[in-house]
Symmetry: C4
Subunit: 232 residues, 4 copies
């Protein structure tokens, strides 16, 4: 039992939730779980089918993106995870998927408008879609820059990663995060559901308006505020 066993186990279990929740086709997704006291995270190896995964196959990487332990190559998105862990100190889990509806919104380069309380139970603003990177960033260290693109998008909009745990990367796909890998997976599933309902809402009523401020406030507070009581 190595010192990384707990995050390997956590990353493994969180990765296995992705196919169970219908969020991935083949290997189009990855989850990592961090231990901040050790300064590392465990992440899915690259290209390994979900049914062949095991905790032992997880790769241990530090916050600079350097492999610390593991014989397999880490996910190709590893540098994006590393940048986010390095910059966001209370995040311990990150998920990337190409889930159908969230990816379609990302491809459309539109923020997901806040149309209902399902959305407001989780965040008080539209789910941001970061602009596609400029050509210089793309030609550079691409996955590393993807992390910075995400961070810059939140900063430019005055959003904090503790309050908003999901984003779309324009033309690409969603990333979500949280205090644990499990919470980050939860956020991926919520995002996919909210993304589907937002499209349907616009199809049912093309003139639909965003949720009014009082309802946004109420629903967010009952789940997140100091007097939160929500759980359904």
């Amino acid at each position: 039992m190595g010192i990384y066993q707990h995050i390997k186990q956590e990353a493994f279990e969180a990765n296995m939730q992705l196919p169970a929740l219908g969020l991935v086709l083949f290997t189009f997704g990855n989850v990592s779980a961090a231990d901040r006291s050790l300064g590392v995270f465990a992440i899915k190896p690259s290209g390994v089918p979900y049914k062949e995964l095991s905790p032992e196959k997880m790769v241990i990487v530090d916050f600079e993106g350097k492999v610390i332990e593991g014989s397999l190559r880490p996910s190709s998105d590893t540098k994006t995870h590393a940048v986010l862990y390095k910059n966001w100190e209370s995040v311990n889990g990150i998920v990337h998927t190409h889930s159908t509806y969230a990816t379609a919104w990302a491809q459309s380069q539109r923020d997901i408008p806040i149309y209902g309380t399902t959305h407001a139970d989780h965040l008080t603003v539209d789910i941001p879609c970061a602009a596609p990177m400029d050509d210089e960033m793309i030609r550079g260290d691409y996955e590393h820059e993807t992390g910075h693109q995400i961070i810059n998008c939140l900063n430019e909009r005055g959003l904090h990663y503790r309050e908003i745990e999901m984003i779309l990367v324009g033309n690409h796909a969603p990333f979500t995060w949280g205090k644990t890998a499990d919470k980050a997976v939860y956020n991926s599933a919520v995002l996919e559901s909210v993304a589907q309902m937002a499209l349907l809402t616009e199809q049912i009523n093309p003139e639909v308006q965003r949720l009014k401020a009082s309802l946004i406030k109420k629903h967010f507070e009952r789940k997140h505020g100091p007097r939160s009581y929500y759980g359904q």
Copy 2:
């Protein structure tokens, strides 16, 4: 075996139908079952995943919303259930979900038009979408007021809760009810199916008209009237 065992069991079984019918993601839903002779209902505890539920975990609450028995916190929507039970004397089961299509209609703030016999087999009017609450109600006792919003909507439209067992709460999601918890769950699944087919109907034919009166009358009577004979 406590005196509430029968409604705990009924509420448990009805809650477990929600994921089986594809009506909930995670814990986004709840079912309650009432015993009017005892003046209480059993309801899902708040935030407990479906796979960890058991009859013993159900919480017993009276029609004022006061917890009578149970160590877990009841669903955050408990006060809405309580208000409806208090005001609607023949209702013994209530369901709340965020099912995809019904919630999209709620977010769109549109009634679901009666386009076919699947709808008419269950109710003779458009499925109403109650207006979002005004800001004062939202800031007040929110879940309690949600119950009154539902009751007021039916009253304003001259509808009776025995004839129409489903409603959308604008910007939020659907509620359904019935003589038993099982019937209320059935109504939630019917509502989701009718909601999906209504959107598809408008997409196939944007000029589609509501079902004509003679067909509405015929289908409803064969299922509900004194000479009902329907069951498929």
Copy 3:
């Protein structure tokens, strides 16, 4: 072992395919299987959930719609089945469902245009949508008249029930048939798939044209003509 055992078994197995193929919610569908030498058909009892069905519960009915054997009430659509069997001598299986996409087209009161070879592998014309019945027929013997509405629709369009084994009843839902109950169920699944693809086709290209005559002819003949060779 009664003399009706074979059609009870056939009807039972065919009915059980409906939920397996995703064509029914609860009891919203029924299949019958006929034996023309005995002049009867076996049909699903009314309102019995699929998981409680068994061959013994099937009801035996003659082509006038009279119950011959069975303690349960036959499906409320029994008279429609009876009329079709009486008038269409080579049909031995009939299916009625409220499957999502086919029902949405029926509610839209539009024929399903022939857009591709999946459709042409099964029939050479648009899938007809019979007009809703006039008010007199609705007030009369409704399910009996539904059968006549189907027959009249085919006659008016010069179509033969051996060449086209599926129809939409306007505002209501689809009926399919075939030489066996199994083939009728197959046709219901094909119809649902063709209905979904036709809507998607129009959404992708609102200017799409019907399949050209040469392709319709080729695909139908390779599956149905004297020189048929199709099977995939």
Copy 4:
């Protein structure tokens, strides 16, 4: 153990993936696996349900479309497979399905525009939709000509079968291929997912633009170039 056992096994396993991946209804699809040293391929027999398949039932056919071994009739699309194997020397697996979204695009006679990185991870251009065949080809050796229609479409557009492993045949449905039968099945599932997301993308943003060249180049190279490192 015959000399064809390995490709029979490979074709069998690849065929069985189609229903598991939700790409076929009934028998609406087929996979073949080739052995170029033997100059033959193994293909699904015509009209046999997936649950009755076994490696022994696969039919061995040469690249002229002649049956070499097997008592069952080969898939009706066998000649299309043969033409492609004969002309494309590094292809060892071919798949044909009528999967829902890819078929809807084929029926719409539109190429699938490259809207995101999921698409760009697999090919750098729009997924081509070959024009429907002219009437003379249709009346001729239809399945043989379907193969030529596919080859001609790529040639006219200056595309190479090694770089683009999927195509839509106008009014009909998709074909995919690859170095192995398994890779060809993978491509069919990717195509179906990309086809669904492309439609959703246009619905969310009717003004959406194609992916910019720098992102197409980056994503394709990280998966396919000499310095590829992608696997998720």
